[in-house]
Symmetry: C3
Subunit: 681 residues, 3 copies
């Protein structure tokens, strides 16, 4: 992950040469360049343009395009086309198709209908990737390669025969003996004990829509590994052919995939597809409404940043999105395309490529609008692009600077995946995940996510003053140990309710809770319960402040040096400790017996003096996000106004408004959907 | 479609001789006759009564029934029994069964489980139809034939192997070459290009519950053609045998079927099944509540009238409807059966046959009540039938008169079907479809639907003073041309937002919008957007009146002689034109940048002086519908009171109350659920 | 059903030796004994512990456990392990697996995925049951046997090939000829006539999600018989081996199963699994909220009592329940475990076994908490168990006493099952079922359910002063006759709307309504209807009192000696009789033309002087339930407070508070979730 896209912040666009007459190509590219677009991504669904029938390869079509790109000076990101197998392929080799949980085969007509584990598909993918790399990789216009498209998008479960075989191989490799597997999966429960590897199947339909949860957890790990292997297979081929400075990436960040590991082993750059307009989908049943709307994408971008501090946006919203069968969204309001682009850059993007140049006139995505509409006319968004391009030019030096955060939230894939198969886990964690984010945004407190693994180093943690690990339900000795070290050395950690009651297989531990964290937290959880729907609100008092315990409650006692700082002050458990503080080494730990709602999270930020870290620089209203990137001794302060109404902002120091290059101080106004980037020395 | 059922308005009933002891037949028929029933429909689910085992034909059962009918003077409509294959047939030839999208075969036990495209089913249907026609067609009591029953009811998608083969043949016939097919379907999108006809499949399951939308559109056309071919196969056989004056019909009006074309090529009379009581279903999740409840069936009857100005009702509600597994409805209130019958006649029905004589004691339809309940006792509804019969006798001369309308709403199957596979289309059009209907009903403004095809003639359009074509999303040159001619010759057309951006394949056109209508509308749509859920209401001012733009907004500029008559007066696009008027030839065109809600539609009706065309004759309250049928110089004015409360009506001229044969004028009262027919010269 | 579990009220627990290290067994058992647990149930999911691979039987594991049980003096209920076939079994013989309605096979990974009708499964079950009985039955610690686990739980429909064959055999045995079958099922409807037994299939998918309702009714009867046969097969084997005083039981009460008949033919004791905490499930979409919450389990226990006046609870809630994929519930509040145990005993349980000892750390049920949590620590619930045990000791003499009720509600399986396949039936009956229960609870009026069969005796009915038969939709001559006898001899019966319009096959009768009950009720129902959603409330006046007719209305006239005591007093049917009283023999009958809402039911209880039968003994507030068990001349009065708040109770006579052995009279207080048992002589 050492490479980066360009030496300045720059803009690109997604383009489909195959959708338009060749006679339009040159005009399109020149018009892009005129509006500040320097790079196009091409070919991710174009397999048939290279291999229209099995084994017959042709390269003329994209050769011609690349020549025009070269002529006009447009840079190109080239894609491997494996996301959509050709019709001849799935007809000749139906075994490459994925199936649903009931055994129904997914047919040609959409995308991503293949399985990563089909030997035949792997063979044909290897061949096409090798052919394309061999033929195109030396082309001067090409600056990078995208593998496939949106790995695990739409579909992140697999039930083909090839998957069954691969799963058996995966677990045999992992557990070696059936005895160990039976132990790890707790198969003695409900008489699920396996006596032969052949008895093991994918988690298909059962009478009760449930399956062994420990098998399920390994199944998700298996899917992640299958996807990663598929990407690595392509990456290994590409590496043999691409030019020295060119990069390999893939786009999107989807479930059932260890994006961090995939990036580490196969990619030079991680790129994300950012569509904040989903927040405005008319069918809110499809896309649930959240309080912060498009601002929630800052959370996604923070996730991306946990993979890599700098990254690209391969698809950035530039028009209304929608399919003919799903998703109806309004067009972005004037200014929103710019706002969302700056949101991406503020969070660490050094390259932003819009999806798409011209709205497609055909197929499922005919409502996924680009910068241009169906006709070729100039649009309001094209004009906005030109203005945006000028803004980007004023801030292009920001490239390579790092997002600043003193607060970290710890996550890990074991818990992320366990949450998916465990509704108790999900009910608890989803409240805290959203509540913490809203509190951090509301108090203008930048933060990072850190994905904890058994390889995480103390140094990685020590760049944060405080860490939240809201509900570390699965915990390992290794992870407990590094958390202790972090605290010993002066860090602070805050844990929430029901922590550390599962092991790495998702089995519950026969330990007093919070299990492996009992020493560190000096806490003994004696009882616990969901909050009943008809309970009176349960309140906790924390040194004079009252907050409500929502969803779940731990009832606990301090151990050793543990100090009770909060107690339940209503309900059957009145006066029972609800928050225990533990000074440990140079640092301290809090164990909180409930979830981190926005209210609770704000109180933690206040009590720990974490909120508003830039208040000496700037004061902004609730509607605005503050993000700061820094490089050497320079701070770049981004202000993003997500509301349609103008707001005022107070600059407490003199700063350079990079958009127009003048110094500013005091009260300044910011238009609806407006943004500013200030430079401070 | 030249024939008609009877020379007077008359009543019939659906009867199932096979459900009741033979000893009951004669009594039943005599009792029907005594209550004004002149015709019975029989045999539509009786295949086993003719061919109990394969190839063994017997006719005695219905011979016996027909002899009794002849004896008592009851007329008979005889049905082909192809809607429900016998158990032996589907057991012996399971390939005749339809499948669902996942490949699950529909089994014996319901109805309509066959596919139109099974060669074996077609062979067996041909044989039974030929046998029945040969044997029964000459019988004196028979006056007409019904083909099958409710074509495309329940099930209007097909996924059997036979359908796959037929679909390939259909598209091969249509496109000749794969190149043309790939072009028409835009298969370059998502790498869907076909290289062999065998690669093409029905639109089965994909990972994303979506499929190529242009293929989908052709798939629906294919279903329509399959159904039409099946009906024509039977019609061609029947024509060889039926008596000269007898008619061929089929009943119902269902989706995925060009009822107009089917009627033209195969039927003498179109008959509809009218069940307004669906509006009162207790489970409103199953049958969505609409404001006008049973009065919405006037919209359905208007659809039927677009097929044929005169028609029959083969099944008219006469009791509570329901199945044991679906639909719970109250019994019709006293008066409603009569009201709904008059609703049918007002809209063009010359024959009304009730469903059913006696409520079935067995099977799924045991709650689909008839005039009699399970026991044979006289019911309140039987008494109401007698009274209704007397009313019908007073108006029987109305037969053959035409429904009067000066306003037309244009529809076409391409857009109707595109709406089904395109949720953007649907979101927009469904608002306008309902809004226009409610405004027209609310202002007592009769209207017709006109189904536009490439064969529509200028003359057909010219009987209307004003045409609404709410959202002509698919548009062809041919259709644009005739609309222009219509306006040139003095007509007025009103278009709504997002018109004319697709071609006949459902692909978007690379034209400035509204595409092929830009000349005619003198409008240039520069931008467009759904209205966001959290937008403030967006208002449009039209010469002093304010209306709200709902769901969608076009932002546009006038071209040439286009005159801005309405502008947005709030939101980001304040002052942008929202309604453009264009004088063209002798007529004029309006392009309105949003949807036709009831409020918007009412304003159009008022501004164009279309509302209340019969206000010189009669004044009725909101609860009542006015419908007028005319013949030569006579007007028959129907007043229908859909509310349970009595209302008063003002007759502004002296008219003949046909029910009692006296002249009336001034204020008259109308009982709850009451109706009147006035004759004016 | 002659045996009983123990000679005193006693406690047990469910235990899984196979889940825990052998070193824990003895400690666990001793700790149980120390807390009053005298019996453990074991081995219901342990097939693999006996037959790890096909045909290789080992007994050591449970031998060892039983020896420890014997050593410490713990009694054991041993289970047959047929609820969960081993992985080797379903792999080797996939034909034993059940399928869903679409033909998708249920896979290993859950439980109850087998079908009762697989010859291979029956063969293998016979063998394992025989082996276990032979080996273990003589062990001194064993006191009883449980067959399988929760018959028909999760899954009560079956679609495997084995079921198809068994169903054909079942109906061939039942109907002998196809002619009789075609008659019984009304197959003439929709041309469903069968001409060969092979044409008959299970009710699989049809295009309209419906099937022949009479076939459906027989299909449910077939499932019940299949399950009963499976249980009887095991019972017959066990009987050959078990010790004389040992009992055979199975646990749970599920649908599609004639629990009464099963008990009679195969069981010595019936045991139920009682989980009142379901009422507090956080996802109320999964478990619908009902007004009385956990108190609704008294209704379930009343159902259980209709099977047997004394019974056991095999699984009694002792902690939060939940799976990782379904059900999130709070922990029982302090006191609720005790309350629910007393609820079970009050209704007739003489043995209560908690589920489970220690919460399972593995598998789907990891959130189905036991008395202990995952760690082995003492819990609050363990302490509550000890206290509960002391309470139980004070009331242990109650064993064998009978629940007292003067009011009965008649049910029968034909109507219970018809309700499932008939939404009209369900819509009506579900209102009355809940309304009657709420009124009876609210007025502290104990009642019984009586399941009517053609074998029910007059004597069985005569122990009740009044019987409600809310909606006897299916009625037989035999049943009508015994009801008449009951009334003749002085009983009172109350019928609700739409009674007696179906025969035993679920076909409607061609009789004036209420059909076979017309004589008895002296009522002639002329018309009927659902109440429409937009109707004004329809009221009935009954001698000065007004009640609302909800959901359904019969419009009727008295016959002969029938006396109109209530009339509709609003709506179109104002003044039409709504309630007819008929003095018949020494008794009387009421026919009420609507449903038994709580309001209506309370009025009936008041008018018939049934409410509050213990008001001379005790006065309690709404929140409390009164239940009385009696033996010889002793009454044991249970008072159960379901609210979290303390209440006061007035003892109108001096009684013995059994918990502390002192006499009490007058106002006494009862803590939140508290209970008392008073003994009166």
């Amino acid at each position: 992950m050492s490479k980066q896209i360009g030496k300045k912040i720059s803009l690109g666009v997604c383009y489909y040469p195959e959708h338009w007459g060749k006679e339009m190509w040159k005009d399109d590219l020149l018009r892009m360049l005129d509006h500040g677009i320097q790079t196009v991504r091409i070919a991710e669904f174009a397999w048939s343009k290279f291999e229209l029938t099995e084994g017959q390869f042709t390269y003329d079509f994209f050769d011609e395009f690349l020549e025009i790109a070269k002529e006009v000076g447009m840079k190109v990101i080239f894609c491997t086309p494996t996301a959509t197998p050709p019709a001849w392929l799935t007809k000749a080799y139906p075994e490459v198709l994925n199936k649903d949980i009931n055994g129904v085969t997914y047919q040609h007509g959409g995308r991503r209908h293949y399985t990563y584990n089909s030997p035949k598909y792997i063979e044909l993918c290897k061949r096409i990737v090798e052919k394309l790399a061999l033929h195109y990789a030396s082309h001067v216009s090409i600056i990078g390669w995208q593998i496939d498209n949106e790995i695990n998008c739409h579909m992140d479960v697999f039930y083909s025969e090839a998957d069954t075989h691969a799963f058996r191989a995966y677990i045999q490799e992992k557990y070696k003996t059936l005895h160990q597997l039976n132990e790890a999966w707790g198969t003695v429960f409900w008489n699920q004990t396996y006596t032969s590897w052949d008895e093991i199947d994918l988690p298909k339909r059962t009478p009760i829509a449930t399956n062994n949860p420990h098998l399920m957890l390994d199944y998700i790990r298996f899917i992640s590994e299958s996807a990663r292997r598929f990407v690595k297979m392509q990456s290994d081929i590409l590496k043999k052919y691409i030019k020295k400075d060119d990069f390999i990436t893939t786009n999107g960040m989807f479930d059932h995939l260890d994006n961090h590991q995939m990036s580490k082993e196969s990619l030079d750059v991680f790129t994300y597809d950012s569509y904040p307009n989903f927040a405005y989908c008319l069918n809110q049943k499809a896309i649930p409404a959240k309080k912060l709307k498009d601002r929630n994408w800052s959370r996604n971008l923070t996730e991306v940043r946990s993979i890599s501090p700098h990254f690209g946006i391969m698809e950035q919203q530039s028009g209304a999105n929608g399919w003919n069968t799903q998703m109806e969204t309004p067009a972005p309001k004037p200014g929103q395309m710019t706002l969302w682009t700056l949101q991406s850059i503020a969070h660490g993007a050094d390259y932003v490529s819009f999806f798409r140049w011209r709205t497609c006139t055909i197929g499922t995505e005919m409502y996924w609008h680009g910068i241009l509409d169906y006709s070729n006319r100039d649009t309001r968004r094209l004009k906005e692009l030109k203005d945006l391009h000028h803004k980007i030019e004023t801030i292009e030096e920001i490239v390579g600077s790092r997002y600043e955060a003193r607060v970290g939230i710890i996550k890990d894939y074991d818990n992320v995946w366990d949450e998916e198969i465990d509704i108790w886990h999900k009910r608890i964690n989803s409240v805290s995940e959203q509540g913490l984010f809203e509190a951090l945004q509301g108090t203008h407190t930048p933060f990072d996510y850190i994905y904890l693994t058994d390889n995480t180093t103390l140094q990685q943690l020590q760049s944060y003053q405080v860490l939240f690990y809201p509900h570390a339900i699965i915990m390992t000795e290794q992870r407990a140990r590094i958390l202790k070290e972090y605290v010993c050395n002066g860090g602070k950690i805050i844990f929430g309710c029901h922590s550390s009651y599962k092991d790495i297989n998702g089995k519950c531990v026969m330990l007093r809770l919070p299990g492996l964290l009992q020493d560190l937290t000096a806490t003994d959880v004696e009882e616990y319960s969901f909050v009943a729907l008809d309970d009176e609100p349960i309140e906790i008092e924390w040194e004079g402040e009252r907050i409500e315990a929502k969803v779940f409650t731990d009832f606990m006692q301090p151990l050793g040096a543990g100090k009770v700082v909060g107690r339940y002050c209503s309900g059957e458990y009145e006066a029972t400790p609800a928050l225990i503080q533990h000074a440990y080494g140079k640092g301290e730990v809090y164990y909180f017996g409930s979830t981190f709602t926005e209210e609770v999270s704000r109180l933690f930020l206040r009590k720990l003096s974490l909120e508003n870290p830039y208040e000496d620089y700037i004061r902004v209203p609730q509607e605005c996000e503050i993000a700061v990137r820094s490089k050497e001794d320079k701070k770049y302060i981004f202000i993003l106004n997500y509301s349609k109404k103008p707001v005022t902002v107070e600059l407490k120091k003199e700063m350079l408004n990079m958009y127009h290059g003048k110094m500013e101080q005091g009260i300044v106004s910011l238009e609806g959907y407006g943004s500013r980037v200030f430079k401070c020395l």
